[in-house]
């Protein structure tokens, strides 16, 4: 039995669709598989058990080997650094992590600003390489409000279509990374389930749903 952790939220459908394209059905037959509220479901014929987890908790479950593998956004992965294997990244549902502000320019060299984000570790790494400095404010959501209401000059956040930004009179100043849902694997689990995982990875590659 191999245990896989799937994220709630936007990466779930991306993950299910990618595995479906590779001929691996993770939802299970009606009545036995996923329903609206179940947090664990089993696919006995496939020898898979699925855990439904929040993005931010998923690397911890995989890191501890409670789940052997999982799918999680690279934004979360970069932020929590769990020493996981990252064999492939899903192509669908990609977005970008960007610096956002009220004006289309980065702070001038030598200035100190405030930067609001859900990703303080990533933000610290980015700011370390800039000629300007920033005090990092960690927020849990609605990051766009921070620059819009002058809590901070900048925000670091995920941008998908840019519509929320436009509605709040904000601009995407600079894209700092592409964000993709990643297949992550626990190191010890990779040693134990190598053949199975390599088969899945091969099928995902053949279906051209990963890079």
């Amino acid at each position: 039995m191999i245990r896989m952790a799937l994220p709630k939220g936007r990466n779930l459908e991306t993950a299910l669709a990618a595995f479906r394209a590779a001929g691996i059905e993770l939802e299970g037959a009606e009545g036995t598989g996923r329903n609206g509220r179940s947090l664990i479901w089993r696919l006995p014929e496939e020898g898979i058990e699925i855990l439904s987890l929040k993005d931010w908790d998923l690397p911890l479950y995989v890191g501890h080997g409670i789940a052997d593998c999982g799918v999680v956004g690279s934004d979360v992965l970069e932020e929590v650094d769990g020493d996981l294997l990252v064999p492939v990244r899903l192509l669908a549902g990609r977005s970008r992590m960007s610096l956002i502000g009220r004006e289309a320019a980065l702070p001038a060299a030598g200035t100190q600003v405030r930067l609001a984000t859900k990703y303080p570790n990533t933000a610290r790494r980015i700011v370390a390489g800039r000629p300007w400095g920033a005090e990092i404010l960690k927020l849990s959501g609605s990051i766009e409000l921070a620059p819009a209401l002058h809590l901070a000059e900048l925000a670091l956040d995920i941008v998908q279509t840019g519509r929320t930004l436009a509605e709040n009179h904000l601009v995407e100043i600079e894209t700092v990374a592409e964000v993709a849902a990643c297949l992550v694997v626990n190191r010890a689990s990779y040693q134990r389930h190598r053949a199975r995982l390599n088969d899945w990875i091969g099928r995902l590659e053949a279906a051209e749903v990963v890079s």
Binding site: R3, L60, G63, G65, D81, P87, V185, A188, S189, Q191
Partner: protein, 324 residues
Amino acid sequence: MRVSAALPTGVAALLFESARRRRDAEDRLVAHLRKAGYSEVILPILDYLEPYESLLTPASRGELYRFVDRDGELLALRADFTPMLARLLAPRLDSLALPLRFYYRGDVVRYQEERAGRAREFYQLGAELLGLPGEAAEQEVLRLFLELATAAGGGDLQVVLGFAGALDQLLLTADAADPAALAAAVARRERGEVRRACPRLLSVVENGLPDRPEDLGPEAAGRLQSLLALRDELALAFPQARLTIDLAEFACNSLDSRLSVAEGERPYYDGVVFHAYAGPAALPVGGGGRYDRLFRSLGAEVPAVGFAISLERLLEAKAGEVRP
């Protein structure tokens, strides 16, 4: 007034039954080590920081608990036994009869981000063999490690073997702007990145071994041959353990300064290197390897091979053999 029994993050008190369990396991392993001709060394928990400065990577520096003593000396809490042993023995080697076989036990303290299961203080028991040349030392130490780990941990032991510098030639001749970043991508098995830079590394990422051993270069290919022979021999002697060679697992264990990276391994291994996983535990329960270059950096020439076992992880793995 009621006092709180709370402890700082990452440390634990073992009371009663859990203390007994650990001491029992420790006693068994120590008896085994003594029988194998290893004698004990006891090391201090505090040491100067200065002798280790050149051995530290940014990652291992970040793990240190260091402070200024009242007399102004910069000190650190023990984070690793092996460099301390090497520093104490290097200046004395001329007057000691080789080979030396010894073991140690005690706590090491390393700062880890606050995440459950990543203890900041953990108990290690390890052994070192100094001054026995050639493969005989690697064979003796690996056998001893397997004996101890199978005795303490029960079944489902998986030992992953490799050697430092195995992938250096492939990594340095790959089409990569930053070969050290490519080494990290191999260690994380990032196939897209590896395929772009060096398709010949893909089979290493998948199966731990290259399709054509000669791609590693003549010296590394020869070492791989001897490691395969050693693996087969040990697999016969320890049928209850699974022994695999996986060069990707140790991609960051390089012998070339252009590939030295901040993350991962203790940076001093320069020969055979190994990890062991047990039960469903995600972190290695032990590991070790050859570290002649650690002594060389301290001005001494001596062959050195050793290992450390994390006793708590091994006991946890045994307790959790059936995953919930």
